[in-house]
Symmetry: C2
Subunit: 198 residues, 2 copies
């Protein structure tokens, strides 16, 4: 049906998370119909990103500069370091604009099941950053999963010898969460961490 080139484009798009074969075809048709306003900008943006793409040697963020925009920003609080599993988590926290410090991307989480051991994550690099001094607080912002918790625990043990405050994100009800629809684990966490009103 479609030519080889169009088929290759459909398959490349279909591999993106969130797009399947059907939506990839719709996307390709959109690109073909809107060459100037859709295809050309996407091509230019991809080319620019591919040319400049860099992994930050300091924190592991992916950006078009090394050091990345966060690490290079002199206004960021150098004394606070937030440890996350993936680049996506760093971006999510950056969107909230609430964390003034810098980041450290582990590149995953400890997992016996998937055979991910401490040496597969950038934990040694994290310890070197903390050992170099100048950091007051390390926020362990791993995911609220079993593996995220184990990873945070492991790191907390490894860094307890340094004079830094080690914290983690609060657990409890999400904004807009209705008790009736929340899982028991979240409810238990929220109850356990209950606080005085006002």
């Amino acid at each position: 049906m479609a030519s080889q080139e169009i088929e290759a484009l459909t398959q490349a798009l279909a591999k993106l998370p969130g797009l399947g074969p059907r939506s990839a075809r719709r996307a390709v048709l959109h690109l073909l119909k809107k060459r100037e306003v859709a295809l050309s900008p996407l091509l230019a943006a991809l080319t620019a990103v591919k040319e400049k793409l860099a992994t930050c040697a300091t924190c592991g963020n992916v950006d078009t500069t090394d050091p990345c925009g966060v690490c290079a920003d002199p206004r960021r609080d150098q004394r606070a370091l937030c440890v996350v599993e993936e680049v996506a988590d760093l971006w999510a926290l950056e969107r909230s604009r609430l964390f003034p410090g810098r980041f450290h991307v582990l590149g995953g989480r400890l997992s016996a099941l998937e055979g991910v051991r401490p040496e597969n994550l950038s934990i040694d690099a994290l310890i070197r950053r903390i050992a170099a001094g100048g950091i007051d607080e390390v926020v362990l912002a791993t995911n609220a999963t079993l593996e995220g918790h184990s990873t945070a625990h492991y790191i907390a043990e490894r860094i307890e010898r340094f004079p830094v405050r080690v914290t983690q994100l609060a657990h409890g009800l999400p904004v807009g969460g209705e008790l009736d629809y929340l899982d028991e684990g979240t409810l238990a966490q929220a109850l356990r961490a209950r606080r005085p009103v006002g």
Copy 2:
């Protein structure tokens, strides 16, 4: 947060149908993490398509050749012509592999509301193709919408002077359709077009 280039790529992807801002960000992260297996092939495919992209002067299909793959295929039945609204419809029919003939893409449907008049569609070109002879049957495969029907009616009137059989797709229950969940219009069509069993 992200650099200008990454932001531009996110926005270009977010404009694709089926992708919103959130899924575009996930797609970008995927591309950044899988440079060799995801970003490079997508970039190559886009470049190839952009370079070769062509609209078939005969049928209006979008392909990387003109005439398109369908029109250029000598095995296609030259006597049957299927009229569709959009390129997407042509591709959908091609995926079913059931129509052995060629196509004619109108480029839309007549719509008083949107101000689409006969001269905005490739109806004159369709009539020239039919007038040139060699066509036995014209299948009006417009959508089963009010505007699709009006368009089919209009075309049927314009071509009734030619010695061709004019047909349209059957209407009725879709495969797997449960009566309880179908709209009254579909049920009415299915009842009106009922056929003897066996």
